[in-house]
Symmetry: C2
Subunit: 106 residues, 2 copies
DNA sequence: GCGGCTCATATCCGCAGTGTCAGGGGTTCA
DNA sequence: TGAACCCCTGACACTGCGGATATGAGCCGC
């Protein structure tokens, strides 16, 4: 009766796991907070950190893969905005499975 | 004005980041679900997976480090139980910062 | 079309994470 | 005390992640 829960493969990761992986980095958390204030292009985000542009770009792609942000090209710039619908749904789906969290959810 | 958000060091990680790291692994998610049903000792948990006992033990220590589980020795066994208070608080603290999640929180 | 600006991708490097097996410490019981 | 059981830790291998630099692709303005 071993491995009865193993349902994912290396290349198709559960959505919720992807979301948690995306959230499990301080820089990406901070990026989300920046995008919560307002949508920003990549250069603006880079300016907030002591990290190179490619590094930020990769963080953004991780967040995009997790569907936590949405990108849109505007001329030369690429504007990123928060996709808080994913945040909200992920939260309800995962935490809603735990009885101890029910009281905190609507 | 770079790096204005950098507030943590390598060895003192923010609690919320530790929680997300702990949650960002499928095996650990499944362990939490097992412990949500009831508290279990290590052997019982190992029996649910195709992983060695030391591997499960490591996962349990990660969950314990994140304060998501509580361990208690009972004779030969070590019983783990879910600490859903941490789950609930983490959820409210982090997701509560995002306007798009307010409607889902009580 | 060319140069310049913005952003993404390729590649490399160091380190952290996840798995293994071997071994040891704590507990129980005879 | 010693054997048996349960679990943790150490050492190692392999993989993945998060940084960097170099380069390419896309979009302007001239």
């Amino acid at each position: 009766m071993a491995a009865e829960f193993i349902t994912e493969t290396v290349h198709s990761e559960r959505r919720i796991t992807k979301v948690f992986k995306a959230l499990s980095d301080s820089t990406r958390q901070q990026i989300l907070h920046l995008l919560e204030e307002k949508h920003r292009n990549v250069g603006e985000i880079v300016g907030k950190f002591d990290l190179s542009q490619p590094t930020i770009s990769r963080h953004l792609s991780v967040l995009k893969e997790a569907d936590l942000v949405i990108d849109q090209r505007q001329g030369q710039n690429v504007v990123y905005r928060l996709n808080d619908g994913t945040l909200s749904r992920s939260m309800q789906h995962f935490f809603g499975q735990f009885a101890g969290c029910q009281s905190a959810l609507r």
